[in-house]
């Protein structure tokens, strides 16, 4: 029997050696891979108690910082707080242990947490030295513009997005209603859960970043795209054709003609119909363009694409129906040409449309990061400045720019006009119910050399007329443009 016992001994040693080899594979060879797997929540747990870098506005206001935990018994040495409060809730996002990380906290997590630096240190060394180099992220958002936008919008539901059309930098992005991220980043799971569940169950959806996550029918602001596409493809000129003056446009494949708001009568040259936002003429222009050109024009401006915004989760794409949808469906095409029906856009997208026209037809990559500096003061990342889409030619852009100027000087957007600065704009009223509409405006200034572009939407206003956008959204845009131009002048 002893021979078998010795062999059994060898067999068991071999089995144990296999175990030790496997442990070496897991704990040495694959250790880094396993430790840094995104599904390994230990990283989040480890980071959670560690100090993170700050998030700042362009003008130096602290939006997020880590402070030593006042609760000494807590396993987490630091807690995250958000002095920017609800005004910046959607932008900073929250750093929650329970619900994960969103916003800039997530998109720049590696820099804020400083993991990219510590990764070079080995585990054994980590035990001896706990130095972590975190980085501060400075945003392109200007606190003065952000506050002006929030104030102008008040507690009405909606959104304001302000960009610098030359770079794509966001100067302000406001969505109402809003939320305060601080309780969501609490070290107490109970506090976090209570706060989150209250926000989640709120029917006004305060967690929704309307500015880039919600799609609305763009209404007449979309006519800027229809007009630009018409001019770019030479289906229409500034003075020809002259659209017939109509109350309603009869359409094929339907008994119901397309009517102007309030049954009014309009028509004329592109200059004229753009200024007064004539539905029947633009519906006709849409039919003249046909599905292909209108679709391609919308895509050129960024529809059906997600703008590469550096806030997590990213921007929702704006949508324009595919060409086959319009086959034998003139009513849909006519509706699409005036920004109704199946067309839907985020406020960010409409700000990018305004920015593209303002920037000679080139839409820059939208972004909020101005720079990243590590705790030693070295700049590790700088602001991107890349074209996202070439929407239209500079010539067409100049023509649409002119059209939008006349909307402000002698059209539906008079209330956005500023003393001493020429503003260009297009209003919109997107009907959402029998007696409610979203009030829109897109604008940029100064028209001759634009440095600010804006989109404003105020949801569900109790009036449906061509004037709604000009009456409700234009004054908001005016105050924000004023603040943005003042901030840039400094």
């Amino acid at each position: 029997m002893n021979r078998q016992i010795r062999r059994l001994g060898i067999a068991l040693v071999v089995l144990f050696l296999a175990l030790i080899v496997q442990l070496n594979v897991l704990q040495v060879i694959k250790a880094d891979e396993l430790a840094n797997d995104p599904r390994n929540s230990r990283n989040a747990e480890r980071d959670f108690g560690k100090p993170r870098g700050r998030i700042l506005t362009a003008d130096g206001r602290v939006l997020a910082e880590s402070i030593p935990n006042p609760d000494r018994r807590s396993p987490y040495a630091y807690v995250r707080r958000y002095p920017g409060g609800s005004l910046y809730g959607h932008l900073t996002g929250y750093f929650s242990f329970v619900y994960g990380t969103t916003g800039v906290e997530r998109s720049y997590n590696a820099e804020l947490a400083g993991r990219k630096v510590t990764l070079t240190a080995k585990r054994l060394k980590d035990l001896l030295s706990s130095k972590t180099i975190t980085s501060d992220v400075t945003l392109t958002i200007d606190d003065r513009v952000q506050r002006a936008a929030a104030k102008a919008l008040g507690n009405r539901r909606g959104s304001v997005v302000v960009i610098d059309p030359r770079s794509g930098a966001l100067l302000a992005a406001v969505s109402t209603p809003r939320f305060d991220p601080t309780p969501l980043a609490s070290t107490s799971t109970a506090t976090t859960k209570t706060a989150y569940e209250r926000l989640r169950d709120d029917p006004t959806k305060p967690l929704l970043a309307r500015a880039y996550r919600e799609r609305y029918p763009p209404g007449s602001t979309f006519k800027a795209i229809t007009a630009a596409t018409g001019l770019e493809t030479q289906v229409v000129g500034l003075t020809t054709p002259v659209y017939p003056t109509l109350r309603s446009l009869p359409l094929r494949f339907t008994q119901r003609p397309l009517r102007n708001f309030g049954g009014s009568e309009c028509g004329g040259t592109l200059e004229n119909v753009f200024r007064i936002s004539c539905n029947t003429s633009f519906a006709q222009l849409g039919l003249d363009l046909g599905p292909d050109k209108l679709h391609d024009g919308a895509v050129a401006f960024g529809f059906n694409r997600s703008p590469p915004l550096d806030i997590a989760p990213g921007s929702a794409p704006s949508t324009f129906p595919d060409v086959p949808f319009f086959v034998r469906n003139d009513p849909a095409l006519a509706q699409a040409a005036i920004g109704q029906g199946q067309v839907a856009a985020t406020p960010l997208e409409m700000a990018l449309v305004a920015g593209g026209i303002a920037n000679g037809g080139s839409i820059m990559e939208p972004h909020v990061m101005a720079e990243v500096r590590d705790s030693d003061g070295n700049r590790t990342r700088s602001e991107p400045r890349n074209e996202w889409r070439r929407a239209i030619s500079p010539e067409t852009a100049a023509e649409v720019n002119g059209l939008m100027v006349s909307v402000v000087n002698d059209g539906t957007a008079k209330r956005v006009a500023l003393a001493g600065v020429q503003v260009a704009a297009k209003t919109g009223t997107a009907q959402t119910g029998r007696n409610t509409a979203h009030a829109w405006i897109i604008a940029f200034a100064p028209a001759e050399n634009p440095t600010v572009a804006i989109a404003v939407i105020v949801e569900n206003q109790p009036e449906v007329s061509t004037a709604t956008g000009g009456k409700i959204a234009a004054p908001v845009a005016r105050r924000v443009l004023e603040a943005a131009l003042a901030a840039q002048a400094q």
């Binding site: 016992i5 059994l8 496997q22 070496n24 897991l26 704990q27 250790a31 880094d32 585990r123």
Partner: protein, 472 residues
């Protein structure tokens, strides 16, 4: 050689090792408290006193009742039990008192076993008692009103206020039964029947037992969904059969039957398929069926070489970290150093067990020691291999380390049986007063000198030389 002592009671060595085990456990306990709350535990003195008293009682009992027993097994078990307890304190403080109570019961059972079992070989006369007790225990969880299902396995029984896993006890009584059955039948089983393809195949009627064990382990697996135990039973029986008969054919046959059983159950049972697919690729369903294994792998990876430190990791993420997956928690907090140390403890325990088997002088003692050691070794391999994804995961406890009363108590009884066999064998070699330390040293030198001068003769070179070499 001039050695006059044939056997040396090594109780002082044991005492020294036990003191080390207590010191190690107390340090780990302190570090966990420091890691958790940055304070030295307030009850550190009573803690040291309690484990000290427990282990010293076991030591004194060994001294009185099994003076010549192996010196290492009790202290190795103490270290494993201590590390396990510290991790249970760290992971599930609410269960720590229960585990402490079970440890006390375990040590009481260790002592009781030494008291009751005065000679290991007498156990073989109660063969069928063990058999029927084992079968009854195995089937107990299936009895309505006694057994109940927990975590998808029907392996629990309730008796008054106490719940336990009868299967843990059954593996011990069945090992006892196998040992005595095989000792009697081994001659018959070893007889070659026919030669098929150059291999001797025993006659069919002698194959009865192995087929029975195979069928039985499958039945248990089906009825109780306890893959780990059925694998353990089957391996145990095949190994004991092979050691008893010396016929390698049984190993081959065992392998074939294992393959057939595994394939059949794979096709018949969903939970077996799940285990296999999770083993092959846990990442596909990392949040579902693969969750536990994936979390375990993350724990090992995050632990790395040196580990996060006591109470500095996050092993709470692994379901059942205090139980079957405790080695993953150790891996995360103590790193590869910690897991390797634990495995080496088990390897030493297995080594000690097999050494006891080699020295035992009755076939029954040998076979029983082999069986008990196989239980310890295979159970360790099955669970550590499962948790590290070396083999498909089947839930068994890590002996002495995992939380669980039934397992702990049974393993202490197992340890006492090994101590008893070891004592019997050593004592038979000659009882005498212990050597003083200088006598031992002088003897060692004499042996060394002799080995050097007699190198050409190639006489024994391990420490057994000292034991066996004598006037003859």
């Amino acid at each position: 050689m001039r050695l006059t002592r044939l056997a040396v009671p090594r109780r002082r060595t044991e005492l020294g090792l036990i003191v080390l085990a207590v010191a190690l456990t107390a340090s780990a306990y302190t570090l966990v408290s420091l890691g958790k709350t940055a304070t030295v535990p307030t009850n550190i003195r009573p803690f040291v006193a309690v484990i000290g008293v427990l282990l010293i009682s076991a030591h004194i009992a060994t001294r009185r009742l099994a003076k010549f027993a192996d010196a290492t097994i009790l202290s190795i078990a103490a270290v494993l039990n201590g590390i396990g307890y510290v991790f249970i304190v760290r992971l599930r403080p609410d269960l720590a008192n229960k585990q402490a109570a079970w440890t006390a019961v375990g040590i009481a059972c260790y002592i009781a076993t030494l008291v009751v079992v005065r000679e290991a070989k007498r156990l073989q006369y109660s063969r069928y008692t063990f058999f029927f007790v084992g079968i009854a225990l195995l089937l107990a969880p299936l009895v309505p009103g006694v057994g109940y299902e927990r975590n998808g396995s029907r392996i629990w029984a309730r008796l008054g206020p106490i719940t336990f896993q009868p299967g843990e006890v059954a593996k011990l009584t069945l090992a006892l039964f196998f040992a005595s059955y095989l000792v009697e039948k081994r001659e018959l089983l070893a007889v070659a029947g026919r030669k098929v393809l150059g291999v001797h195949v025993p006659e069919f009627r002698h194959l009865g037992p192995i087929l029975l064990a195979w069928g039985f382990s499958i039945a248990v697996m089906v009825a109780e969904k306890d893959l780990g135990s059925s694998l353990l039973f089957f391996t145990l029986f095949v190994v004991m059969l092979w050691v008893a008969t010396g016929r390698t054919a049984f190993l081959g046959l065992g392998l074939v039957l294992f393959g057939a059983g595994a394939t059949t159950s794979y096709h018949l049972f969903g939970h077996v398929r799940t285990r296999v697919s999770t083993w092959l690729d846990p990442w596909i369903n990392a949040t579902g069926s693969g969750y536990q294994l994936v979390q375990s792998l993350f724990a090992f990876g995050s632990g790395g070489l040196a580990g996060a430190g006591f109470a500095q990791g996050r092993p709470g993420r692994i379901p059942a970290a205090y139980n079957d997956f405790i080695i993953a928690a150790i891996g995360e907090e103590l790193g590869l150093f910690g897991t390797t140390a634990v495995l080496l403890c088990f390897l030493l325990l297995v080594g000690a067990g097999l050494r006891i088997a080699l020295r035992a002088d009755t076939a029954f003692d040998k076979l029983l020691a082999v069986g008990l050691t196989t239980i310890l070794g295979m159970q360790t391999f099955i669970i550590v291999g499962g948790v590290t994804r070396l083999v498909p995961l089947t839930g068994v406890t890590l002996p002495f380390v995992s939380y669980g009363g039934s397992s702990l108590v049974v393993n202490y009884v197992l340890l006492a049986l090994l101590a008893r066999i070891s004592h019997d064998a050593n004592a038979r070699l000659g009882e005498s007063a212990p050597l003083t330390w200088w006598q031992r040293r002088r003897a060692k030198r004499a042996v060394a000198a002799e080995v050097t001068s007699d190198a050409g003769h190639g006489s024994g070179n391990d420490d057994e030389t000292r034991m066996l070499g004598g006037p003859g």
